[in-house]
Subunit: 342 residues, 4 copies
């Protein structure tokens, strides 16, 4: 059994880790931390877990964490990077769901997050945890930075086009929309039902923190600098990301065939048959990412539509997928739940 | 023109007062206060008001308020009662949308609100602002306490039965549900989209602050002590209250006729034709309260279903109705907007 | 492996059966029927099933069904009763999710469903599939009528009070609300997003088809005729039933203790700790029913609040629970999924 | 008083016309037709109109319509074009909210709508009813084709850029999303709450009927052929369109100044201050269209975000605006309602 600790268990990625890990046959949940809720039963805060999890929140404690095999950080940015150096030294494997280790360039990180990086020397060591790109590196890593929710959808959507070199990489557009759970479990007026439930808006158009992560990832894939216009929107649903990606084709290619062959062996990427378009509800609660590739009016613009559950493939599910790889388990273990539809 | 001031303009009852008063032909909006947002344009916070309201929020100031004809308090409880005595002395008419002057018994108030009442001597002077019951008293009042959202629906629902003396007054049940805007514009985790939008629950079953107000009002109408079991629920919509009221009949009566004749001349109570049931959307944004009276299976239990928009007839619309009465205007002025359906 | 057939697979209880049965370790899905969609892949209609179910819809065929061990009817009423006599004769076990075999009185059935019952002689043989009441009878049954969604919540909510004989059984009130999926997957204007999504209303107040089922069930439990006022409401959510039950206490009793001891060994009834109230989201996608018992203001009215997922414990989950019992499997097999929260 | 008839009053654009016209001080509603609901009171179908509209639906009748000053067609496509020639001959002014007269090219129309146009000879005479472009022509028209909901948002969003000639017109992208009311009041499974309320998807990517209308309108504005990639999405809200428009800048320009000066005198186009982004709720129920122009990361891609209420500025409100112009009234009459927020 793999001993698992979770740091920062009161947010939505925390409770989602618990939902996925509690029934995982190879995992023993050892500790889940929260300073604010220390001493409170987890299932008191999250009543869906009644009968499935007997843990209480506790204050984070390096010794307890060091006794785990794997520790997940489900914290806001700027928490993991303060604790990781000490914990890493104990030999524990660390899977960070926050943004702290996603960018390789510490200066770029500082520019977007507004403070110096606490351990820039670890950035080169951290593996970017997108299994469809970095599966082998993840298997050998000690520190994995899980991709952001938007970057997962955008990268997997553009990936086959970039690898095939059939699009103009200077004018990519990623128009994306996320359910409100992406904003986290924080008391903010903007995310109240009365503000955000019967509404739709773009936000962060001038620059969203996922932009440099997206551009770094796409540039890695293309092996050349890629520029993206990225516009996120806030959807009046709880879970789900939908990305609509635009790229100008520079050569003729069988798009359907390109996508199907690239993702043929990927357990969590589903290329829809030609003529179908993905819907967020088809992945609600599931680790599957579904996508479709289209070429409207047979002009030279390719449009890729992608859906994922931002809390599963976009966060906690992908983190469990990473854990399975790290620990030599079947990559799909504990992740085969069927999406809840309707 | 009636000079109007609003104290506490950043909440939902505040913006709703602005929506109703900005186009009111006899009203001049003079001042709207908010300590926290002082100096900010109102339409910067509430973009629906762009082009309709040029005011900025300002700090509350007794002199400015004293220069108004009418001042609305759209504040949480325990604010109005601190300021009202001084302002009342200047002769201004005051319409309080909060709970501060709704109960006549200062001790009961303290028991439910957890602190002593700041000016118990004014409680007897305050008129309970339910026009369908107190129209004449309101016309002569200087201080009006607007009813709560639930109490408006529950009282107008039971009113004809109580006046007619045809039900058992010891076992009334008021099962009610409110949209989330009833919880106010406050940063609380419980009211986030991710918590409350795909959910339904009862709350405050052990005792909700509207219970003593409901029992006081129903007892006044019945001229005898009335006991109610009141269970509120939280609806995953923004606006709307629905009350399902249960009472045991003690005499035979033509219920449809009873309700229609009682509310025949009420501009804002609509008794639906027999066979129809009210829906919250039929009053969305409107000051109308709609209700139906039924007797399932012709047994001895009468069921009254009532809908209102909690921010209009349940709060700001009723307050404007009160203002119209207070100021000798046509009671319906500025309140004839049609509900937004679909 | 248990060979399973599903008749009527295009509705919401059909797809929910598939979601629960596809990963069930002891089940082999043999056939799923739909006249309208015959020949279409199931996962084309329900994309959440892609990768989990390779079946196509086929026309119902008695021979194929007769080769199954268990056949589920997930059809509207008046379908199962036409086919069941012939199929029953082949020895197959039948679990009917529709209303056809829920009432023991054929005349009562006709009165509520507007047509004669097709096989009244089978009504006495059919077992009412509420495991918490009829577990032993279910184990020996060949034909099980699964309870309706509302009746499940209402019966399990009142059960301990009725068994203990501590309430007045002449004046029970069941105020309940259901998500829209309860209305089925039918093209009806009333259930469009534009009609029902930002709305709340009562319906069927004069008489809902679940009323006679509820009264039959409660009378069985009480061993005396029970009368209920039942008012259903339509919630603007997809899944979830919430029932608020009212009963007048006739003797003193420790309510919390009564409920906890009655349901101590029930795997799918969760009595919440005193002070907590159930929320529909805490059972979204799960077979758990959660409830709380309260006594507002310590008066003599007991209020029980109950939640279930109408498609799981209220329909398909309960049907699988019945199948597990019928087939001698662990009753919880395939039903331990954790509710999706947030 | 202007005598008004409405053909096809049971859809959402029909009820929205009634909501806007019932209180319009210069309008007398003479007739509203529906074959299916003939004889039924309008407020029986649409309870928000109780007390505001005493009409009954009647079968369409050329004589009654000919006695009107203005007739609105709020019908699906292929209805108006069958009736308009005869009615036009009587001298009545006709405002068609459907697609029948939007395209000038009858063959193009046939290609997208799948049948021959019934009166191609009238296409040249029909004025495209976008006041911000065609105000003067509308004033003199007898037959006006109101723009589609998406085309209104997309055209007004790109307009200043095209007029100024500062963008590449070969690679425009219009990524748009609409509330479900845009799909009309039709019994379709796809638009049920259980299907579309907790979901987001693109649709019509291969080609949506609004594409040729958008390209015709933008080409008119640019006085050159414009190509657009148009991807509509379905939002889980009732009302509201949001368009996110992308264009590559070909010259330097002060974008904020360009938009503000172009729309300075437009009563129903609101250019937000720099730094603000529009939200659908800020126009809910209002005829205002709000937009913002941004240039992310100061690169060469301009992003325009636009919101409107699809039933108001995107349909019935714009039709009333057209009527006001046609009849020489103040263009804003009856259209100054403030958006319902929250």
């Amino acid at each position: 059994m793999i001993k698992v600790g979770i740091v920062g268990g009161t947010g939505y990625t925390g409770v989602e880790l618990l939902r996925l890990l509690a029934p995982h046959s190879q995992v023993e949940l050892v500790t889940i931390t929260s300073r604010a809720e220390s001493g409170r039963r987890v299932d008191d805060l999250f009543p869906n877990l009644r009968g499935h999890c007997d843990l209480q929140f506790s204050s984070p404690d390096i010794e307890t964490l060091a006794a785990c095999d794997v520790v997940f950080y489900a914290t806001p940015h700027n928490v993991a990077m303060q604790m990781v150096p000490e914990l890493l030294a104990t030999g524990v494997k660390i899977i960070d769901l926050s943004a702290d280790f996603r960018l390789r360039d510490a200066e770029l990180w500082s520019q977007w997050y507004g403070e110096p990086h606490a351990c820039p020397e670890l950035l080169a060591q951290a593996v970017y945890g997108l299994p469809e790109v970095n599966r082998n590196k993840i298997a050998d890593a000690q520190l994995v930075a899980c991709p952001g929710c938007y970057p997962t959808a955008v990268q997997l959507g553009f990936l086959p086009l970039l690898e095939a070199g059939v699009i103009d990489i200077d004018s990519l557009i990623a128009n994306a929309a996320s359910g409100v759970s992406g904003a986290g479990r924080q008391a903010k007026i903007d995310n109240l039902v009365s503000e955000a439930s019967d509404n739709f808006k773009a936000y962060g158009v001038e620059g969203h923190r996922h932009l440099p992560e997206i551009e770094q990832g796409l540039s890695d894939i293309a092996a050349a600098p890629v520029a993206v216009t990225f516009v996120p929107h806030l959807l009046p649903i709880i879970r789900g990301i939908h990305a609509t990606l635009y790229a100008r084709l520079t050569s003729e290619v069988d798009l359907q065939q390109l996508y199907e062959s690239r993702y043929e062996n990927e357990p969590f990427v589903d290329v829809l048959p030609a003529g179908q378009l993905p819907q967020t509800r088809s992945v609600r609660g599931s680790n599957m990412l579904r996508l479709a590739v289209t070429r409207p009016q047979q002009r030279d613009m390719v449009v890729v539509t992608v859906v994922e559950d931002n809390l599963v493939k976009g966060a906690s599910g992908q983190a469990v997928q990473v854990m399975n790889i790290l620990c030599g388990l079947d990559e799909t273990m504990g992740l085969q739940g069927i999406a809840l539809l309707p």
